[in-house]
Symmetry: C2
Subunit: 302 residues, 2 copies
């Protein structure tokens, strides 16, 4: 099995009611990789600038992530600065500097053109399409996005959704894409484009899986103290895709379990700032939390 992820590696500065961090390791591909690396081999495709701290490279490499596809370009690394208030559900972006990311074109090495799973993390959908055109075949392809691309590159994004097996998307963004206020209508609208599954991320409300044949809901782990929700969605996707790659199949029962894993891994991540908790997280801790999550919806009879 092998997982390939294409996305961003960034330096994040984040403020939440619990505290703040400056220029810590961030970006969709970082969170995804660290989560997915609990399940197997992950190859990360992204770009950083020549100012990217060696300690961050070390963090990723220590978790066994293959960085041979991490380009180092002349210039500054992508930076994001944001804060959270109140219920922590929505990030307020204070500053975005694309820097070297603005010139990024992912190139898949020959060795990873047939991965078990390919995850197109939130980047320009035109880049997601470039990657899809380089893929010889993949066990499973999945894509995420964000409001920025829905508003600016909807046609390209639609082409991505038409070509992947699974769309993993925030609830608000699914509704925005499908131009509806109803999440069921939104998911069905995306499903009609071709993907076999649409996974709608609902933050503290967990997530919902829509397929042609079924519907599944997984709770979020009930946390009294969330430190930093940054990257929760990418971490969720890492647990989900990681589990699917390890299982080597995507039957309905396996996809349900994979979603539970995604929810569990993400719940650990938000208990500390940035990627910190992911650096020490073990598979057995994830399995224990999955058992708890399962218990939260368990019913004897009706």
């Amino acid at each position: 099995m092998s997982i390939v992820v294409v996305g961003s590696v960034a330096l994040d500065s984040v403020q939440t009611p619990s505290g703040c961090v400056e220029e810590e390791l961030g970006g969709s591909a970082s969170y995804f990789s660290l989560a997915a690396s609990l399940y197997g081999e992950v190859r990360l495709l992204a770009v950083v600038g020549d100012d990217f701290p060696a300690r961050h490279v070390h963090c990723l490499r220590e978790r066994g992530i293959d960085l041979s596809g991490l380009q180092v370009a002349e210039g500054r690394t992508f930076r994001w600065k944001g804060c959270y208030e109140g219920d922590l559900n929505t990030a307020i972006t204070l500053d975005t500097q694309l820097n070297v990311f603005s010139q990024f074109h992912p190139t898949l090495p020959e060795a990873c053109r047939e991965p078990s799973c390919l995850f197109l993390a939130n980047i320009d959908p035109d880049l997601q399409l470039e990657v899809l055109s380089q893929i010889g075949g993949a066990g499973l392809t999945a894509a995420d996005t964000m409001d920025f691309w829905i508003q600016r590159k909807k046609d390209s994004l639609t082409r991505v959704f038409c070509r992947v097996d699974m769309v993993v998307i925030n609830e608000a963004e699914a509704k925005e894409y499908a131009d509806t206020r109803n999440v069921v209508a939104a998911a069905r609208g995306i499903l009609a484009l071709g993907p076999k599954a649409v996974v709608v991320k609902r933050g503290e409300y967990g997530c919902a899986l829509f397929t042609d044949s079924g519907y599944f809901v997984a709770p979020a782990y009930p946390l009294e103290h969330v430190q930093d929700p940054t990257g929760a969605g990418d971490t969720f996707a890492g647990g989900l895709i990681g589990y699917l790659a390890q299982a080597g199949e995507a039957s309905p029962a396996v996809v349900r379990r994979a979603i539970l894993h995604g929810s569990a891994v993400a719940s650990f991540a938000v208990e500390d700032f940035g990627v910190r908790r992911l650096l020490t997280l073990s598979g057995s801790e994830v399995v224990a939390r999955c058992r708890e999550l399962r218990e939260f919806t368990y019913l004897e009879g009706i």
Copy 2:
């Protein structure tokens, strides 16, 4: 078994994106009673004015609801006018006329001072306390409330929460009451007052049960077309308390099943305006939807 509910019976005028109705049967006790009557004998304590249409009395009586505690006072019936926009999650109140409700004092007939279950629907917490003081003993007592009372009568409301077995409350109101933005902290804060269970209603996200020993999450039924969410919370409570009264016990497994019933009954109610769907709903339809809801969270292993 017997269920007693104290709350409002109103004439509702409602506008939603799907249409509108004028002076239809509404009020927390109406929705609750119609839902709970699927499970057994319900006695409704409320007040209406002498303008209350006979056809509404007929509707309630046809479903077997005991109206011997429905006072008819000189004057006009309580009226509520509201509308919903966008995602239908929040009602916008356009007009409230308490009318005869402002002088209401519930009096429990001797025959119903030891019910299997007592539900204190959303009314002035001082009236809820009056009812509690008249009760000789009840298998289970539960109470709901709303932001209006949290803002104006928090001390009385706290006394209610200290004296009931179960608090059934909207998420936003639980957070407002406990002065926190975190739902887990809010529920634990209310639980610390004494109730054995706090059921947090989360609208389209389903509901969460908090007890000292456990946590349970039930999904809402995924509906693409919600006609009118008015009364969904009271309907949910009716299904929940109705099931508990019928079961005659409130073990953890039974409470979980009861919550599923509440969710199922509420999902039918919002598919039509006002109480309409509740007037034709059958127990077997509810059970079939409970089976579906159970399937939505079913996991084989992890």
